[in-house]
Symmetry: C2
Subunit: 339 residues, 2 copies
Amino acid sequence: MKVVTIKDIARLANVSVTTVSRVLNHRPDVNPETREKVERIIEENSFVGNQNARGLKQTSEVVGLIIRGRSNPFLNSLAEAILDCAASLSDFFVTEYIDEKADEFETALRMTKQHRIKGMIFVGSLIDDRVHAIHGLEIPVVFTTVNAMAASLKNASSVAVDDRSMGRLVGEELLSLGHRKIAVFGSNPVAGDSLAMRFLGFCDAYADRGLTFEHQYYRECRFSMEAGYAAAREYFSNHSDTTALFAMSDAVAIGAIRALKDLGRNVPEDVSVVGFDGIDLCRFTIPRLNTVEQPVEEIARRSVNLLLDMMEKGAAPRHILVNAFYRSRDSVAAPHILP
Amino acid sequence: MKVVTIKDIARLANVSVTTVSRVLNHRPDVNPETREKVERIIEENSFVGNQNARGLKQTSEVVGLIIRGRSNPFLNSLAEAILDCAASLSDFFVTEYIDEKADEFETALRMTKQHRIKGMIFVGSLIDDRVHAIHGLEIPVVFTTVNAMAASLKNASSVAVDDRSMGRLVGEELLSLGHRKIAVFGSNPVAGDSLAMRFLGFCDAYADRGLTFEHQYYRECRFSMEAGYAAAREYFSNHSDTTALFAMSDAVAIGAIRALKDLGRNVPEDVSVVGFDGIDLCRFTIPRLNTVEQPVEEIARRSVNLLLDMMEKGAAPRHILVNAFYRSRDSVAAPHILP
DNA sequence: AACGATATCGGTAACGTTTCCGGTAATAGA
DNA sequence: TCTATTACCGGAAACGTTACCGATATCGTT
């Protein structure tokens, strides 16, 4: 199978490969007539540049995308938005999914070497101690859905919702309805990360009313329906007086609602449930899920702009907080057993 | 940032680049001592081969993966299984997501040129008239979740569940419970594709009992919750006597259940619903969804084996039908309004 | 002792593209 | 008319890796 190369195009167009390359890269210094002729020949032969050869030159601006979890619909929609939004801006994207326990620094480093990547976006990453190793990458990176300010990495920007405010909003919503015994299902919070911030905000709402959140109402739980189910099953078997649940992910909330049903408790009549992220599914569950909707498009747009600024203009890292939106639906009600 | 290349390793190990390459590719003709030394140096410098340079050589066996729809959980889990299963077998995977309306031949052709791909797996593809263009690819391809036998492409294998049998099984299940007015939400069926087969099987079940399926009960519907919702909303507003629904995708079923609820009809008391695919979510919805579970791991394993056989041994295309499993849960019951 | 077989290794030419440097021709300015 | 500038283009060297071919050394055979 003969594949057509830039050399073939050059021969057919009676120009040098250099000129074809110039046309391909929209360089200004080529005669309009020549350009047109070359473009026609490219079109006729449906020539597509070989990405391997391009990538071999150290100059190409390939950017990497690391996504934690292929099955997470929220992260998937975010990744999709990023790719859409960068389609016209960057040369090429190489994306890689990693699982929950994978080390993102290791992955990033390997990708950098394997593909000569010049910038990286992390979708749904964790900020923990190991993240400081990102220093070693020496390429600009952007973290999404997590505020990396606290990590103070010199080559890392971040775009995230204002988790603390949103946590507070959820707390206020539930407290103002009269709930007092509220469970929180978070996951593995590290000082300064998104989850910790949401939780802090949630506690702020308590403090506003002179209340304090008691730790016995908190459960650690991975971000899956399965885990949400298991956590709720365990928790509500032992805490029958709890009237509300704040799940820090929609998947967890959906698993929990199912577990509550199996325990003979209805949502929202017996227990109110609030999720986080705002995945499509929330609009179709029974009951429809109250949740905090993350502005996926905005996060995507700002992330790629941030990365491009850093890559092309050498801009300094920035940490952007965007606004989220509390969406009220059918999974929250006042507790009918008043204290 | 200085990246270490095979040349650096060769220099540090006092061998030629050729020898390092041999070590990298596990060639037999290298002295064990030398091999060990080189491997040590590679390890010490955490050297990773440049994929671009590898891909530039026409010999590397890169395989492509085309997935229709990033947000489809079933296809995502299938893609994940394929990647897992091929991780050790192939040199490198390049995956690309396409949307509903994209032409898979165009995409495949571009990928082939752009990345010098030697084999391709389609995850969740459509078999329509255009697919014959895959001929032009001249590389072995495997279609998953669709039986490509009818298309009789000389370079294409396929792995799919026995759609016709499963369609029949669903039909039997519902008919034997006493349902007679059953809606079917499929999508855009082309002669010989998966959906058409499921539908044919469903009609078989009718025929077995001397009944015939009437076309007024059929609705076309894209594979999303949104579309399932809209279709159900329209359909059940006009067909209040229908007591069951066979949705050819779990997402459609879930959207439909929500629509039924909004119409004041409960599942399964008023309407029974059966889905297709067996995504995780089915176990957590209210009610839990009856569905046909596709054997994701088996489809994945057989697909990569098929492709590898074709790529390496030049094996002839084969079309494999695997067994699916009807999972009975809470969304199906006997109709309480008997005819 | 001469020979062939085998194990182990190195030099070099590709792969397809971009970039650097330089060259020619046309045009403008003096 | 001469020079300087500009527009446009081409040759050749890289990028990192692998494949091909050939070279040497060792060892067993006759």
